[in-house]
Symmetry: none
């Protein structure tokens, strides 16, 4: 009976104001201390309006975060897959050194205690990045840059696991020198031997 085309349409300005406020507060006080009450006040919006469109804090924060960092940190597409990977990881490391890194840490932290946040994080953040990385690796294989029999999951974890660990554990900064060394070691490890032989 209720015609879906009936009644007032959703106001996109409101939607944006909410995400803007969420971003600002995420930066200022972090995910842990973020409250929907605070977001509503900051955005000049009724709390009910937030609850109408997002089921919980995690999904709101996730949408705000994704809007900021973009769907992925885009891989450049040059003729060298290796350079593309190196450049993307350098950009990612730079991003993670900033406020985005803190928010990602908190999202991962919360995910350990809340399955729904984990699902959102994987579906919206991690998987697209994994897929993008996979494309580049496949391109490298087709190029002959990388060994054809590599296990994609293993390489993905070797490329990104160390960065995540560094960011989460804080035992050391995510500086470029370390990144370059570790990426070099991994990519060298998947570069066909004949290349090395040719070099001898």
């Amino acid at each position: 009976m209720p015609d879906p085309a009936t009644g007032r349409r959703r106001n996109p300005a409101t939607h944006d104001a909410i995400l803007d406020a969420t971003c600002v507060l995420l930066d200022e006080i972090g995910f842990d201390k973020l409250s929907l009450e605070g977001v509503a006040a900051r955005a000049g919006v009724g709390k009910a309006t937030i609850y109408r469109w997002w089921p919980n804090k995690s999904s709101l924060a996730m949408e705000a975060l994704l809007r900021e960092v973009g769907p992925t940190v885009a891989f450049p597409e040059t003729e060298s897959a290796r350079h593309d990977i190196e450049n993307q990881i350098r950009k990612l490391a730079k991003l993670y050194r900033g406020k985005t890194g803190r928010v990602v840490c908190e999202m991962i932290g919360l995910s350990q205690f809340d399955a729904e946040t984990m699902r959102l994080f994987n579906d919206n953040f991690l998987d697209p990045r994994r897929n993008a990385a996979k494309q580049v690796l496949l391109r490298g294989i087709q190029n002959g840059e990388f060994k054809p029999d590599l296990d994609f999951d293993v390489i993905f974890d070797l490329l990104y696991g160390p960065i995540i660990q560094r960011m989460l554990m804080r035992h050391a900064g995510i500086d470029e020198r370390h990144i370059d060394l570790h990426v070099a070691l991994v990519l060298d490890g998947i570069t066909p031997a004949k290349t090395n032989i040719e070099l001898i």
Copy 2:
């Protein structure tokens, strides 16, 4: 000014009761539904007593979890550092597939929200493990098994980062096949080239 030898002594039974209650509740309802109010009630303890000894929920949970994880997974000490590392990581992976893994995830999660908790985690959990690993790598270098100029932090992150990422993100299990592949790639990467040349 406050003479430590004065006043009533701290009651260890109370301390234990609080940590016990924390463990139980962490298990039953998870970290983010955990309330100090609830812990106090469960432990039969005044809230103030908890606040006297722990600055916040995270530190309390961390101390409770640290009690749960056993001591460092010892590195076997054979004549081959490589085999020692491979074996230790296989055992570690096995441990992380069980309840300990769950606990470690939660400890890492907790650390994201409080610096003091992070410090507790690093001091009591991570550092001992890092140091043990360092010893084996040094042994390997002295043996000539590993390149002499390797950056320890990079190798540590490459060996353990992928496992941590896999465990935290849940995108894939920590199965032995993947572990073996990634460890092989890393250790190959730090094995001196002359070994390879001899093989040719």
Copy 3:
């Protein structure tokens, strides 16, 4: 800034439930054992709702008590101001010997701990009674029953102060014999001397 015509309206049932619970608890356990926590629980109301409308325990209790005391004890209006005062005070004394006396004592008690509560008490209880008394005294002056230069505040305190003291200190009951004696002494003292001379 805050438009009063916006937002959900205050629920009068809640307001009443809070005052009802306060009265009951005041009766059952007394003021200094009264807790807002307890009132909230008894009224089936959130604590914040109480704090939204009353600044502290005293004001809440005062408002609850003010509901209990009836309107001003009316002064009868005959041709003799003296008789009117005597009759009103007799009626007042009777009232104060009952439950109302108990309540008035508590209101005075409350007022000692909070200026706002004192203000409430003066505005809503004391001032109307003082003004009514003032009218009768003025009438008596115009009649020639009372000296024209009397200080109203002094007379008010002399008429009612002794009753209040007796009621608050409990050192003696508020019996009619004492009332009559003290009122006679005061009113004699403000009755013009010529009357006495005529009697000689």
Copy 4:
């Protein structure tokens, strides 16, 4: 079996330190906000020591208050009972205008909700004053200054009730002019008529 004359004697310095701290805090923050915790800290004394010697806050405050104001505001003893009363009341009014007045108000306030405080207040504060006043009135009667048939309770309430009311209700200050007027009216009322006739 335990000889009461054995063991260490009570330290009078401690006793004084506690009362001193109580007085200071009573002045600074009033009876309502006074805490035994605060007294102990201020006096440099263990809480248990206070609880050893006083059953509750009221009795501690009462003892401190009585030590400050003395057992009574002494009546001067000249040949005129009337002047003695006038002077004592002027001194009392002055006392009540200061911090002592505030504390007395709070004690009366609390007495409305706590029978034990009421008892302490009557026994230790009010009764001695009533008795002293009674002596002076009797002296006045024997002098022939006052009528021989006066009702002591009525006069006491007329002399002190107005001051108490003024202090408790705050509707007006306890200034000397009003005091003098009301005392004059009462004392005139109990002065034998022949005196007046002689004056004519």
